[in-house]
């Protein structure tokens, strides 16, 4: 209760009720994806049947179709490939930058850090038109490499900011001690700071990965053939023949594309919050 006293029974029931209602409303589409994935087509498109029940026994047919006869696995592979490379590139550039901002730059470093964060606010929907030309000029059109090259432009700002907060929280005495022992600043960074920041690094990797799976505009713009697409674009756009959506397989694909990320995010949630609020509030 807001006056510090323990909640009465009525209040508790009310809270649970509201919470349950919200949870159902927010999670419902995924539940629906699950049901649709396993319902037979004849059951699915029969308007007389209760959609919440299985009037015919469930089937794995949609799953089979998805995995064997569509490009889904290809998209999955493309996405993982891109995700990994983007994570590596992001780390390689963001870590030194974050360290420099945290330790080596003083006042103008603060300003620069904010400026870098602000670039994160520049949306793909503003840049995608000129970028499409740049990508074409680099010969990367219709290739997963366009993704690998362009995505770090937004993962690096956020990762830098996240890691900056991380490095600032490490007491500088650690590096001072190392330098007294004869290491250069850069060696101290590599040998002392990096290993300690392991959890920050993992967070950045997860973040980069999820950004690759979630991104839509650039992938849609730069990649034109179905075989080179990522999961985020392939599933809603290409799982259709003519005008007909194959809802069963489509929903199965959605489920597979959502749940692993959901679980990962739930595990790393608190770090992300820190990134958003601590960073802006300093």
């Amino acid at each position: 209760m807001s006056d510090g006293r323990p909640a009465g029974a009525l209040e508790r029931v009310l809270k649970r009720g509201i919470l349950l209602a919200f949870s159902v409303a927010l999670a419902f589409p995924f539940y629906w994806m699950a049901i649709t994935s396993f319902k037979r087509t004849t059951d699915l498109y029969n308007l007389k049947n209760n959609p919440f029940l299985f009037s015919e026994p469930p089937t794995l047919e949609h799953l089979r179709l998805l995995l064997r006869e569509t490009l889904f696995l290809r998209w999955f592979a493309n996405t993982c490939f891109a995700g990994l490379l983007v994570a590596v590139i992001t780390l390689a550039l963001a870590m030194p930058a974050a360290y420099a901002l945290a330790r080596l730059t003083g006042r103008w470093g603060e300003q620069l850090g904010i400026a870098i964060f602000l670039t994160y606010l520049v949306p793909p929907t503003l840049l995608f038109i000129p970028l499409s030309r740049i990508v074409a000029n680099l010969g990367l059109q219709d290739s997963i490499w366009a993704i690998v090259v362009v995505y770090p432009s937004f993962t690096i700002p956020f990762a830098t900011w996240l890691l900056m907060g991380f490095f600032k929280a490490i007491p500088p005495e650690l590096e001072d001690a190392a330098m007294v022992d004869g290491l250069t600043r850069f060696q101290a960074f590599v040998r002392m700071v990096v290993p300690i920041s392991f959890s920050g690094i993992v967070t950045v990797v997860i973040f980069a990965f999820t950004l690759v799976t979630q991104e839509f505009v650039y992938a849609l713009t730069f990649i034109s053939s179905a075989a080179h697409q990522t999961v985020g674009v392939g599933v809603p756009i290409y799982l259709v023949r003519g005008d007909v959506y194959y809802w069963g397989s489509l929903m199965a694909a959605c489920l597979i594309a959502s749940l692993p990320i959901g679980i990962l995010y739930n595990l790393f949630l608190d770090r992300f919050i820190a990134g958003f609020t601590v960073g802006s509030v300093k």
């Binding site: 209760m1 807001s2 006056d3 510090g4 006293r5 649970r16 509201i18 919470l19 919200f22 949870s23 927010l26 999670a27 589409p29 995924f30 629906w32 308007l47 030194p96 930058a97 360290y99 420099a100 080596l104 620069l112 602000l118 606010l121 949306p123 929907t125 503003l126 840049l127 038109i129 000129p130 970028l131 499409s132 740049i134 090259v149 432009s153 937004f154 690096i156 700002p157 590096e175 250069t184 600043r185 979630q214 839509f216 505009v217 999961v231 985020g232 599933v235 809603p236 959506y245 809802w247 929903m251 594309a257 959502s258 990320i261 959901g262 949630l269 992300f272 609020t277 802006s280 509030v281």
Partner: protein, 294 residues
């Protein structure tokens, strides 16, 4: 200056990141101005300065004006819904209880799943023939079987659907941020208010909500950016239809610039996002500065 390092170390460590960001954010940003002020089309070679002609033709286009209005309507409506809903949710999640982790996982799903995936899921739920919502409405005798709402086919309903999907997608994000804000309020402040004689609502409106304001600002500003600059929901749910009634600035820019191959006009349309982004960025910096002093 820090000891033990040459003066160039800091800048050198910074340089790759900065070059990358300038190259792939700064350069395209500047380029979009060039496109908008010129006559570039996909496949064209030269560039000619045409002044504000593109902007003028864009502003005269009723579809554009409708898309501009839609951008504001969708963003404002969804953010209002998100703020109210997320605050309520954060309040219920604030105190620990069994199963909280699992419920939190469920609540997070709309945000963590790719927005394109969530949108296509909603497309199925709102399908003209097979919508489960319509089935329930018919069963509850709220609508007649032959007169079911065309969620994505009728302009007003389509706009409502887009707003609801945006709200659904952003709600978990705002909830998480607001939850951090609620838990940051020290326990003894509401107790002091109770001792001072304030009832539930006075405490809420005069004490706790004002203290939450910086965090609410953060959630709001991010939410505005995510919604205003998003084209995915519209693209997947309605393709901007029926008849361009649900277009928003980013999706219109996409249709014009990429699908329509008119890079110049597409760039001009997307540049209208800049004033809003600048305003939001300025507000964020002001909020951050105020919040850090607390």
């Amino acid at each position: 200056m820090s000891p033990g390092s040459p003066r160039w170390l800091g800048p050198v460590m910074l340089l790759p990141a900065i070059v990358y960001v300038i190259g792939l954010v700064g350069v395209p940003f500047v380029l979009s101005f060039f496109y908008a002020l010129g006559d570039v089309k996909v496949g064209s070679v030269g560039w000619h300065f045409v002044g504000l002609a593109n902007f003028r033709s864009v502003l005269e286009n009723p579809t554009f004006r409708h898309a501009l209005s839609n951008s504001f309507v969708f963003t404002i409506s969804s953010q209002i819904l998100v703020l109210v809903g997320a605050n309520v949710l954060a309040l219920t999640l604030k105190d620990a209880f069994r199963g909280r982790r699992f419920l939190r996982f469920l609540i997070l799903l709309p945000w963590v799943a790719p927005v394109s995936i969530g949108s296509i899921g909603w497309k199925w739920i709102l399908d003209s023939l097979y919508s489960v919502i319509n089935w329930v409405l018919v069963r509850l005798h709220l609508v007649k079987p032959l007169d079911v709402p065309m969620w994505l086919g009728q302009p007003t309903l389509a706009m409502i659907s887009v707003i609801l999907v945006h709200t659904w997608h952003i709600m978990p994000f705002a909830t998480v941020i607001l939850l951090a804000g609620w838990t940051a309020i020290p326990k003894d402040i509401p107790e002091a208010a109770a001792v001072d004689g304030a009832g539930y609502f006075r405490t809420l409106f005069q004490i706790t909500l004002p203290m939450l304001l910086p965090i609410v600002n953060v959630a709001l500003l991010f939410g505005i950016i995510f919604t205003f600059t998003d084209m995915t929901v519209v693209y997947i749910l309605t393709r901007g239809g029926p008849y361009d009634t649900t277009q928003v600035l980013p999706s219109l820019a996409f249709f014009t610039g990429i699908l329509g191959s008119d890079l110049a006009e597409g760039a001009a349309i997307s540049l209208f996002l800049v004033p809003l982004l600048a305003a939001v960025a300025w507000l964020m910096l002001r909020t951050a500065r105020r919040a850090e002093v607390t």
